[in-house]
C-alpha cells in the first residue's frame, strides 16, 4: 500500500478482484456449498440404545491419542453425576477427546448414555472459518488439524455448532486447539476403525462407509418397528456429519441440538462472502465518480462565480 497512486490502485483493485472472483473466495465458497462429502468417506453410526456407559471408549481414546492421565480412573462412574458450568454435563476437553454422558429419561426403564466427540462434518465449520487453513477434511472422512500453523484465534471453537474444538488455555507459549481426529494418523489412514469403536464391548458404534451406514441405519429402524426414533442424527444436520446417531428417545433429550438445520454453517456466511467481490469492484469506481462529481460541481460553481 506504500507506493500507490490512483491509477495503479484502480488497476490493482480490478485485477485483484478478478483474481478473487475467479479463483479465490467466491469459487471456493460456492464449491463448498455443493460439496456433499467425499464419495467413499468413512463414518461411524452410533446406536445410543446399546451403550451401557462403561467408559471403555474414553480409556481407549486416552491411550491411543497419548493424552494426559485422567483426573479420575476411567472405571469411576461418579463422573456421570458431575456438573460443570451452569449445570452442564461433562464436555470434551484438551485432555479428553471423547466422553460418555448419562441421561435419566423419565419413563425409560434405564438411563441412556450418549457418546460425545467430534462429528467430523462433511463441510466443517471449523475448517471453513479457519484463516490459516489448519483444518483438512480427509478423503477418509476425518477432520484433522495442523497445530503448527494455528495462531490461536479460536474462531473454529466459536464456529463449531457442536462445541467440539478445545484449546490448551493452560499453555502460555504455544496454546493450540485439541479435538478428536478420528484416529486419522494411527488408524483411519490405514483403513482401521478409530480406537473407541474397536474398544467398545457393546459394539455401540458401527464403522463403515458413510453411505452404507445410512442404509444400515434406515434398515435397523425399519426392522425394529417402534424401537428407534425415525431419524438418523447427522445424516443431514449442518450438511451431514461422518458420525451419526440413532436413539430410542428424542435427540434433544440426550443433549443433541435439534435446531441446527440442514444447511452447512458456511451457507450462512455466503451472503457476506458474495458481497466482498462486489465491494472490491464497484466501490473504487463509485467513489472515484463521487469525487469527480463533487469536484466538478465545485469547479462549475467557481466558474459561475467568476462569470458573474
Amino acid at each position: 500500500m506504500k507506493k500507490i497512486n490512483r491509477r495503479s490502485f484502480l488497476k490493482g483493485g480490478v485485477a485483484g478482484t478478478a483474481a478473487v472472483a475467479t479463483t479465490g473466495l467466491s469459487s471456493k465458497a460456492s464449491a463448498a456449498g455443493d460439496f456433499g462429502g467425499y464419495p467413499d468417506s468413512m463414518g461411524v453410526l452410533v446406536d445410543l440404545t446399546k451403550c451401557v456407559g462403561c467408559r471403555t471408549c474414553e480409556a481407549a481414546c486416552n491411550k491411543e491419542q497419548g493424552l494426559p492421565a485422567p483426573d479420575l480412573p476411567f472405571d469411576d462412574f461418579s463422573v456421570f453425576d458431575m456438573k460443570g458450568h451452569g449445570g452442564q454435563k461433562r464436555r470434551t476437553s484438551e485432555k479428553e477427546y471423547t466422553l460418555v454422558n448419562r441421561y435419566d429419561i423419565p419413563g425409560r426403564d434405564k438411563p441412556i448414555f450418549r457418546k460425545f466427540q467430534c462429528n467430523h462434518c462433511q463441510e466443517p465449520a471449523c475448517l471453513t472459518s479457519c484463516f490459516v487453513n489448519a483444518y483438512t477434511k480427509t478423503k477418509e472422512g476425518a477432520v484433522i488439524y495442523d497445530e503448527s500453523v494455528c495462531v490461536g484465534c479460536r474462531t473454529c471453537m466459536v464456529a463449531c455448532p457442536f462445541y467440539v474444538p478445545t484449546y490448551t488455555y493452560s499453555s502460555a507459549i504455544n496454546p493450540v486447539v485439541k479435538k478428536c481426529i478420528m484416529c486419522y494418523d494411527t488408524r483411519l489412514k490405514f483403513g482401521r476403525p478409530p480406537a473407541c469403536v474397536e474398544a467398545c464391548p457393546q459394539e455401540v458404534m458401527t464403522f463403515g462407509k458413510r453411505k452404507d451406514l445410512i442404509n444400515l441405519g434406515r434398515e435397523k429402524i425399519k426392522r425394529n418397528p417402534g424401537k428407534y426414533i425415525d431419524h438418523i442424527y447427522g445424516e443431514k444436520e449442518v450438511g451431514g456429519t461422518s458420525w451419526m446417531y440413532m436413539s430410542d428417545v428424542s435427540f434433544d433429550q440426550v443433549g443433541f441440538d435439534t435446531h441446527l438445520g440442514n444447511q452447512p454453517i458456511i451457507s450462512y456466511v455466503k451472503d457476506f462472502l458474495a458481497m466482498v467481490p462486489m465491494v472490491l469492484t464497484i466501490w473504487p469506481a463509485l467513489f472515484t465518480g463521487f469525487h469527480l462529481l463533487s469536484n466538478r460541481k465545485k469547479a462549475n460553481e467557481e466558474k459561475e462565480n467568476s462569470k458573474s
Binding site: 446399546k50 451401557v52 462403561c54 471403555t56 480409556a59 481407549a60 486416552n62 491411550k63 492421565a69 485422567p70 483426573d71 479420575l72 480412573p73 476411567f74 472405571d75 469411576d76 460443570g84 458450568h85 476437553s93 484438551e94 485432555k95 434405564k110 488455555y169 493452560s170 483403513g191 482401521r192 476403525p193 469403536v197 474397536e198 467398545c200 464391548p201 457393546q202 459394539e203 458401527t206 464403522f207 463403515g208 462407509k209 452404507d212 442404509n215 444400515l216 434398515e219 435397523k220 426392522r223
Partner: protein, 176 residues
C-alpha cells in the same frame, strides 16, 4: 420366556463326553460342553468361564442365544420367515458367524460388495457376546458390571488408569 432356575439344577446335568454330534434334527444342550472359556478376544481381561450348562436351564430354547443355528425354532418372528425348526446350521459356535474384527478392511469390503446381504447389522464377536449377555443380565437383574464377569488384568488396569495406576486423589487439573 425366561425361567430362572436354581443353579443347583445346572450342576446336576450330566454331560456325555466324547460323543460326536449325532444327526438329530435338533441339538440338545447335553451335546454342549458344561463350561466354555471365552478368552480369545480378551486383551484387558481374564478369560470368562461361561457356565453354559447353568444358562441352558434358564432359557426355554437354545434359540434364545443361538438364533436358529441349533435347529430350534427362532425366537423372532422375522427370523422364522426363513429359518424353520429343524433347520440346523453346520456350526453353532458364535465365532463362525460373528467376526472377531468386524470392521477390518477385508470384512467391510466383503459386506460392501454384496448388495443382497441380508444380515447387515450383524455385530462382531465382542459385540455379540456383550449385547447378548448384558442385554439379558439387565432384564433379569443379573450382574452387569465389567468385572462381574471377567476380572481386569494388569494391562486393563493400565488402560483404565485404575487399581495401582489410579491417579492421585485430589489432583484435579485441567481447565474450567
Amino acid at each position: 420366556m425366561i425361567r430362572k432356575k436354581k443353579k443347583i439344577l445346572g450342576m446336576a446335568v450330566v454331560m456325555s463326553l466324547a460323543t460326536s454330534f449325532p444327526l438329530f434334527a435338533q441339538m440338545s444342550a447335553e451335546d454342549a460342553p458344561e463350561t466354555i472359556e471365552i478368552g480369545s478376544i480378551a486383551e484387558m481381561y481374564e478369560p470368562v468361564v461361561f457356565d453354559h450348562a447353568a444358562h441352558v436351564l434358564m432359557v426355554e430354547s437354545c434359540s434364545f442365544c443361538h438364533h436358529h443355528t441349533t435347529g430350534t425354532a427362532p425366537e423372532k418372528e422375522n427370523c422364522a420367515k426363513c429359518h424353520q425348526e429343524g433347520d440346523e446350521a453346520s456350526s453353532v459356535a458364535c465365532v463362525d458367524c460373528h467376526e472377531v474384527k468386524p470392521f477390518s478392511s477385508a470384512n467391510l469390503k466383503a459386506k460392501g460388495s454384496d448388495p443382497l446381504l441380508y444380515h447387515v447389522g450383524r455385530p462382531g464377536l465382542k459385540g455379540a457376546y456383550h449385547q447378548n449377555c448384558i442385554g439379558c443380565h439387565e432384564q433379569v437383574g443379573a450382574p452387569t458390571g465389567c468385572q462381574d464377569c471377567h476380572a481386569r488384568n494388569d494391562k486393563g488396569d493400565q488402560l483404565f488408569h485404575s487399581g495401582k495406576y489410579a491417579p492421585e486423589p485430589g489432583k484435579t487439573g485441567g481447565h474450567h
